[in-house]
Subunit: 352 residues, 2 copies
């Protein structure tokens, strides 16, 4: 049976001040619909493919908030990690847990905090990836057709055609490149690694056993204890903290990829909202209440019924969320992390 | 006896979003001390000269807020106008009321919403102006030594020396000039009209009787009724609405001026905060909580414990007050009125 597993662990300091310690990025309504959280949109999309077989792996201290954001999801489908151990442990937990219930389980892994513009195209790609994973027994990645020489993502190099032409081999996974390298990748047809993976649970567990034996041992212990809370609390802190990309994907053999082109965005910074939301005639991308006078190409995000008024400014990000306001040029939106760092170093707890 | 009369009537849309319908400019803490309202600072400065003889003329619907902002002031010293009738009526009311109590009263008139950087220098000038008004029987204005060719103020042209060299005659009052005219005024040594006037109450009432007979008749009626609330409510709506400058100052004979140079600012726009508050090493003028990264020459005003974070921006005004945020280049700070106009025309009541 097909299962979707949503990894809802992250933070997201680049989206401060909307994202806070108690309000990570996936719980923000940053998509085209300014009322739906990214997490709920992810759930809605994947439930459209796998029905009730949606599972969410999240941190124990976020489990309540995640459950509240997904009222349609059965509470037992929220798998809580007592401590964060990166994505290999989260994927391993889901694979072990679901394989114990359904030995033929095929899993689809999704980050919780991305946006998809073309949902029918996305659903078709996901269905194909699940089918190829089930038939081939391989791990299948989705490679996103790139739109720019992005240095913030890993990339995938496509190889020979596979699975009867429905997929390609992965020639290699590459790390986040520098700018000239990213430009070369763009020219040569490499794809972005969108963090979506598909595999039979048994195949993933076999790869973990080969490449991450300490994780495999921990998962065995959890399975033997029936995945109960006490065992999880005991075992989890000992699991290796490594990403699924580094720990498994780059090392597994026979991995395939399917190209995806469905308006994907990781909403990785305030500037990225321009990929997600429609601009007005003057190029302003506005969520919430705003009055704009002689303002062009700005990204505006006003929460809680507050108003943002701009006069005579161009190319700015202006955000008001909770007790903080952010103003930064769009091309420096990544530097929001510097604000968060300053607040962490100073007495800025009230704003974090 | 000397009396100070503070005119606390105005609104101040150029200081939106801090100034609102129910919170006019004089009730904002826009001075160097970010906790003291402009009104309280005015009261404190003039009480230092005239002691308990401070009076405030304000709109009836602002009287409670004014009294609350001036806990040191006796409630009976707040004279409420049932409807606004510009400054000639307000000055006339104060002159008639105080002359009835103290026929030898000498009055000093002050706007409630200005800032003074050099308070000892201001006090010395005010004392001199009161003395010259008492001795000469004339109306005495303070002419502010100008720092720029300002088109937003009226100007005063000094004439011959008077009052034993302690004052000068006013050659003429001039209206708000256009830019080339203001530049000529600056070169020729004209002074700004700071809206501060000093006179024996009896002299002002005589000038009103000559130049504004309808106002004089109304004031007579109020005096006959002992300035009671019913008479005020009946008489006030009929009083002419004209400024003290147009109605009296430009027409009175023998008016004198004393030059003042005491760090005066009318805090007429957000940009003017740079005249009032100390800038940091990068030229940023900050009130409230802020984190600034690569930010230069900005004016930041954050109320209610909120934080404003700026990255990589220069020369902006950024204000957060109540349920609104304003971002505008400093050299367009006057255009805030355009925002207020849009809100008035639309459904912006919650932000006005």
């Amino acid at each position: 049976m097909n299962h979707a597993v949503i990894l809802a662990g992250g933070g997201g300091t680049r989206l401060w001040p909307a994202s806070r310690r108690g309000r990570p990025k996936q719980l923000l309504a940053l998509g085209a619909d300014t009322r739906e959280t990214l997490l709920h949109a992810t759930w809605r999309r994947v439930a459209g493919v796998v029905g009730d077989n949606v599972w969410v792996v999240t941190a124990a201290d976020q489990a309540e908030a995640v459950a509240a954001a997904l009222p349609e999801l059965s509470r037992e489908h929220v798998l809580a990690e007592p401590v964060a151990r990166s994505t290999a442990a989260a994927v391993g937990l889901a694979a072990a847990y679901l394989a114990a219930r359904d030995p033929d389980a095929v899993l689809a892994i999704f980050p919780a905090d991305h946006h998809i513009g073309d949902e029918p195209g996305y659903a078709a790609t996901v269905e194909r990836a699940l089918a190829v994973a089930a038939e081939s027994g391989a791990i299948v990645a989705i490679g996103i057709r790139p739109t720019r020489p992005e240095t913030g993502f890993g990339w995938l190099e496509p190889g020979a055609a596979a699975a009867g032409g429905r997929a390609r081999e992965v020639a290699r996974f590459v790390e986040k490149p520098d700018r000239p390298t990213a430009e070369r990748y763009l020219e040569r047809g490499l794809l972005w690694n969108g963090g979506m993976f598909f595999f039979p649970a048994a195949r993933m567990l076999a790869e973990i056993a080969r490449h991450l034996p300490a994780l495999a041992a921990g998962l065995d212990e959890l399975r033997a204890a029936g995945f109960d809370a006490a065992a999880t609390a005991r075992v989890y802190p000992r699991l290796p903290a490594i990403s699924i990309d580094h720990g498994v994907m780059e090392r597994a053999s026979g991995t395939l990829l399917i190209e995806g082109d469905f308006g994907w965005s990781d909403v990785g910074s305030w500037d990225a909202l321009a990929e997600v939301r429609r601009a007005d005639a003057a190029g302003n991308v506005v969520a919430g209440r705003a009055v704009l006078v002689d303002a062009r190409d700005n990204v505006v995000h006003a929460e809680d019924g507050c108003l943002i008024a701009l006069v005579g400014v161009t190319g700015l990000v202006v955000v008001r969320a909770g007790n903080a306001v952010l103003v930064v040029p769009r091309d420096r939106a990544q530097d929001v992390r510097e604000i968060v760092k300053r607040l962490e170093q100073g007495d800025g707890d009230a704003y974090l």
